[in-house]
């Protein structure tokens, strides 16, 4: 087999893996939507009928919004639903197919660069929030490591920079920050393959074992 076909195969499988991750993240985000509807309704009923407001609901809502957006964003990119107006492209693409293709490549390429920039820009925030827990390095304050892995893990998570109001609802920031950075990074990868394949990729991805 030539190097060229090997490269093609490698690219196709990376592209497919990226699609898979996006689809799974999307399903997770979709579940968060359902949770959001449920939590809000429990709050409305509890507050109005039982006079027992669900404390921390605002925090939970904000938290789930971030998750919804960044878990679903890669899939939005994957299925070509990111907001655009492609009327001009469609008209030109019909008259001069090669112009349309060049334009598609350029647009997806630029989008790839932008998403990479977004991932790069948000990366330090993620690192900062996870370092605030000092999972591995000895903590600057509080009890030192005990040696028990689980105890230390919980202790460390307590130390994390948190989101929310103490006593109502708090959650460590880093998982959210991680989702944001990974989401942007995955978006960048998806755009890269869109740019490379420029509409041709269906044939490439369709490996023989997936015909069902």
């Amino acid at each position: 087999m030539s190097l060229r076909t090997n490269l093609d195969r490698l690219a196709a499988s990376i592209s497919q893996a990226a699609d898979w991750v996006a689809t799974i993240a999307n399903a997770l985000g979709t579940i968060v939507v359902l949770v959001l509807v449920a939590v809000m309704n429990v709050d409305v009923v509890a507050r109005n009928f039982f006079n027992a407001p669900f404390r921390g609901v605002v925090e939970v809502v904000i938290f789930s919004m971030i998750l919804i957006v960044f878990l679903q964003l890669p899939d939005v990119i994957r299925v070509n639903r990111l907001t655009r107006s492609d009327g001009f492209m469609a008209v030109v693409g019909q008259a001069y197919p090669w112009v349309g293709r060049v334009l598609t490549r350029a647009v997806d390429g630029l989008a790839c660069v932008f998403m990479a920039l977004a991932a790069y820009a948000t990366w330090p925030v993620f690192v900062e929030t996870i370092e605030s827990c000092s999972y591995i390095t000895p903590p600057e304050f509080g009890p030192p490591f005990t040696g028990n892995l689980l105890t230390d893990l919980f202790e460390a998570t307590e130390r994390c920079d948190y989101f929310g109001t103490p006593g109502v609802f708090t959650a460590p920031w880093w998982p959210v920050r991680m989702v944001i950075t990974l989401s942007a990074g995955l978006g960048s990868v998806l755009f890269l393959f869109k740019s490379i394949y420029a509409g041709r990729r269906l044939e490439l991805v369709r490996l023989p074992d997936q015909d069902n």
Partner: protein, 437 residues
């Protein structure tokens, strides 16, 4: 180049790039990034500018209205509430020339009060109302024009995704925006109905159609009318009633509405597990794309502030002693121009940060300004070359006898009516904000 010049070039660059087909959030983000880099000469500053909105602009409680109302709208369409209300309206208007057209407008206005999107309205009513009009020999152009024209009601009558988006850019309360949208929406619907009546009299050829006594032999029983109207009336009461009385915040109203819609759809057995999952999926997609758009738009508005473009524009207007009339005229023309190229959300996100610093010092209400903006930007849904409502109708219809040109020509009278209503709304702010006092 001065910062302001870079700012002006950026705004133009965004419009051009979007026209070429670049994703709108990417256009807003990339151009703003480059502009800040150029002005400051420090790439690290541009990176910092990029970091803040991506991490923080989604952390707003009221953003939750977007997935909740979207989900509710999707369920309501699946439950067939649009078709029900259309059925009832159709009987009410059956004796008048253009009656099915009026019924479509009326049904759309009611349906709009439970959905937030014109796209949903356009696709639902293309399927139920256009075939009906064609069956009664209406002019195809009129048939599609009515659906296109009345679909914009979906985004003016609350709950509306566009009112929500505006409320974030202008930092207004979502509840106030919703309430302010009610009267203008009703006025627009009523004006459409009057316009159809007038067209039926003056240009019967354009309307076409015949009245029918088909329904006379088959009157609807009271029970039928009730079963077709009660669910939608109940939903409207929960959502708008809840917000108006202050019993529910807009977010809670969205959640309660979504749950009620879910119950209706389940009870009527119109919701399979599969279509339930699809609705959730669709909700997630729409939410993510709107919020990503808002995120990058917040980067754009920071960039505008950084290059001081809104201040400069303000001084320019002051120096030339431009008064209210000319500012509004310029604003409407700008929105109409952008409306031929961009979608409604993008227009709002691009023009509002430029103009808001001019409107506020003039002592004008930002809630009123929001209604003007949404109605003005919505006209673009109907105008070529990129009227999105018209595209949706053409795609949903899938009928080779009706071309995209027919849809645009049919929608034109309705776009004109919208413009007239817009002028009235600008002239009489009380129509929008009166309800808030």
């Amino acid at each position: 180049m001065s910062p302001v010049e870079i700012g002006i070039i950026s705004v133009v660059a965004i419009v051009v790039l979007v026209y070429l087909g670049l994703y709108i959030p990417v256009a807003l983000g990339t151009v703003s990034f480059v502009a800040i880099w150029f002005v400051s000469g420090k790439p690290i500053l541009a990176i910092n500018f990029l970091r803040v909105p991506i991490g923080d602009s989604v952390t707003e409680y009221e953003f939750a209205t977007i997935p909740l109302f979207t989900f509710m709208g999707l369920l309501v369409s699946k439950a067939g509430l649009g078709a029900d209300i259309y059925d009832v309206m159709n009987r009410a208007f059956r004796k008048i020339t253009g009656g099915i057209g009026m019924a479509t407008v009326g049904a759309n206005a009611v349906f709009a009060a439970v959905t937030g999107s014109s796209i949903a309205s356009a696709s639902v009513f293309t399927r139920i109302s256009v075939p009906e009009m064609l069956r009664f020999n209406y002019n195809p152009r009129f048939a599609v024009g009515v659906v296109a024209g009345s679909s914009v009601l979906g985004m003016i009558i609350p709950p509306s995704a566009m009112l929500i988006i505006y409320s974030f850019v202008a930092e207004q309360s979502v509840g106030d925006m919703f309430l302010a949208g009610i009267v203008p929406g009703i006025i627009l619907a009523a004006t459409y109905i009057v316009a159809i009546f007038v067209m039926g009299r003056l240009t019967p050829g354009f309307v076409g159609g015949q009245t029918s006594d088909e329904y006379a032999a088959d009157p609807m029983t009271t029970a039928e009318v009730l079963s077709k109207t009660v669910p939608i009336v109940l939903l409207i009461t929960i959502v708008l009633g809840g917000i108006y009385t202050g019993w529910l915040t807009p977010v809670e109203a969205g959640a309660a509405g979504a749950l009620a819609a879910l119950l209706f759809a389940t009870v009527r057995r119109r919701l399979s597990l599969r279509s339930f999952w699809e609705s959730l999926l669709e909700t997630g997609h729409i939410t993510a794309s709107i919020l990503f758009l808002i995120t990058t738009a917040s980067l754009y508005s920071r960039m505008l502030g950084f290059v001081a473009l809104p201040n400069e524009l303000n001084q320019f207007l002051a120096a030339n002693e431009l008064d209210f009339f000319w500012i509004m005229a310029a604003y409407v023309v700008l929105m109409l121009f952008l409306g031929t190229l961009l979608d409604t959300a993008s227009i709002i996100l691009i023009v509002v940060p430029l103009f808001i610093n001019i409107i506020e010092p003039m002592g004008l209400s930002l809630v009123w300004f929001g209604i003007i903006t949404v109605v003005g930007a919505e006209i673009g849904l109907l105008t070529p070359p990129l009227g999105i409502s018209c595209f949706v109708i053409k795609t949903t219809l899938d009928d080779s006898r009706i071309s995209l040109k027919d849809v645009f020509l049919g929608a034109l009278p309705f776009a004109f009516v919208m413009l007239l209503v817009l002028i009235v709304l600008i002239r009489f702010p009380g129509l929008s904000i009166g309800i808030l006092n």
